[in-house]
Symmetry: C2
Subunit: 318 residues, 2 copies
């Protein structure tokens, strides 16, 4: 990359798709020039453990430890605990969330530190450093801000109940981030926004991963005050989501399943947009980069990250 | 066995040695005629999990799931979680207690139920039934009654810190069961004492496993009121402990390492004593059965249990 030596990027990410762009950017930018802010709206307590699915996905991906098939969890994982737990739980009331044996160490250590009163920001730094992650990985808030999913079939569900237990099959009527509204952005995230030369929203689900971050305290206002490129990458390619419920959810929310609808959902938060060449062009005031955004392997992740950074270097995105 | 059809035994056990006698007796007596009461003085919280080492050892042994080499833990166990946890804990501050992956399911489920306010008695029943244990397994109390070990080297230690972390190497000055004194025997244990035709103390460590039970509330008085055989089996064979710190501890407490010293420690709580033929005979008012007590395999466990029951049937132990 030929960006100036102190050009700094702050990336907002959710789960698997966001983790892949984070991985690509982390290969292009040294730790002092890339800060990754992660959604905590899908964090939850399960079996007495504090679990941060998005944070773990990004952490494991950056550490090179992620399961390459699923895109989440750890490579070479085993499920001895879970298989044993089924003896106590034949109805599956507690075993629906996959907790691998290696993965359990992360949750146990996070829970231990949480119970000692350590901030999630510090816990995440401690865990990710121990696993060899070099770039700062910041939860958007230290507060608990569970996303709630209002469904036709079951009424209001906790996020992971909707997402994992029911495999995002219920029809969504609305999403609420009430706790986020009363939460605070951490000082570390505030500083990462202030020093950013560009703000990037990963191709994560805008409603399930990005909105829960934007709902936190005054985050949106902080972002709007920064006169730097603020760009998002489409999670929709050719009328479908690369992974997960984005397309299904957009339909349920009465939206066309297009990159345009994603860009319009972000609204004036964005100055630029990274669209995929498979999508039809659409009329917009945004500065648009059209490229192949599919990050199917590590090489593609680095290439996509490089494309975005080169575009920013050339004045794109503003 | 030819004991009358409603002859009932209540067995008090600690860890591995006790579990082996429990296993033998459980092969000889149907569930309605054998109740097993287990020590909880070495229970503790670790990594946010409620762990009951003696209870688990007995439960796994009765279920036929115990690791046959160690005598505790589960057969075919793996340690993926623990190996992963070491990345977060290079100094070993949290990884000294071996938590196998399968074993974790037990602790997670117990912790979950504990946090819901379920009594340990009910939790233990639920867990042991799920694993296929047919005989009642009762914690002596639902209260937390941690045994404390006063050592020359480190002062007062939590039991598992002494026993596992420091591998029972510190020199013991005293043992205290203060919380047990303020705890209550459960109604289930009280009933098991009331209906017993014989009360047996397994060849568990009298100071580390049995005394913490006897210290619970009015347990000793309840036992003393029962005019039935009350017998203990020696944990000392030929001047050594079959397993664990009994011999070392007796030396530290200024006692000769003999079955006689064990019998005298129990004092008037006993009416009978099961001694090993390798030990020298000693003068006592107790009714003594001398037999081979070494329970090195399942067959030996059943044989020893049968010897004891036959002796009781013939009027022994009283």
């Amino acid at each position: 990359m030929a960006l100036s030596g102190d050009y700094r990027v702050t990336l907002f990410v959710g789960g698997v798709g966001g983790a892949r762009l984070a991985y690509g950017l982390a290969q292009c930018l040294p730790p002092e020039r890339l800060t990754i802010v992660v959604n905590v709206g899908d964090d939850f307590w399960h079996l007495g453990l504090k679990i941060c699915p998005d944070s773990d996905t990004v952490m494991y991906t950056l550490a090179g430890l992620v399961d390459p098939v699923n895109g989440w969890g750890l490579a070479g994982e085993s499920t001895q605990m879970l298989d044993s737990l089924r003896r106590f739980d034949p109805d599956g009331g507690e075993t629906w969330f996959r907790l691998g044996d290696k993965d359990l160490a992360t949750h146990l250590e996070r829970t231990r530190l949480t119970s000692m009163g350590v901030r999630l920001t510090e816990i995440t730094e401690s865990l990710s450093r121990a696993l060899g992650v070099r770039h700062p990985l910041l939860p958007v808030t230290d507060d608990e801000v569970p996303t709630l999913v209002d469904t036709e079939e079951y009424g209001e569900l906790a996020f992971q109940t909707y997402f994992v237990r029911y495999r995002w099959q219920p029809n969504v009527r609305a999403l609420t981030y009430d706790d986020a509204n009363h939460a605070s952005v951490t000082p570390e995230v505030a500083a990462a926004i202030e020093r950013a030369d560009a703000i990037i929203f990963a191709p994560s689900n805008p409603w399930l991963s990005v909105d829960p971050m934007l709902a936190v305290g005054d985050l949106r206002e902080r972002l709007m005050r920064r006169n730097v490129p603020r760009i998002a990458m489409t999670p929709i390619l050719g009328g479908a989501a690369v992974k997960g419920p984005a397309a299904k959810l957009m339909g349920e929310l009465g939206l066309p399943v297009t990159a345009q609808a994603v860009a319009e959902h972000y609204g004036d938060l964005l100055t630029g947009f990274v669209d995929d060449t498979v999508n039809p062009e659409f009329s917009t005031d945004l500065n648009v980069l059209r490229t192949d955004t599919l990050m199917k392997d590590d090489a593609a992740r680095v290439r996509v990250a490089g494309d975005v950074l080169a575009w920013l270097e050339g004045g794109g995105g503003a």
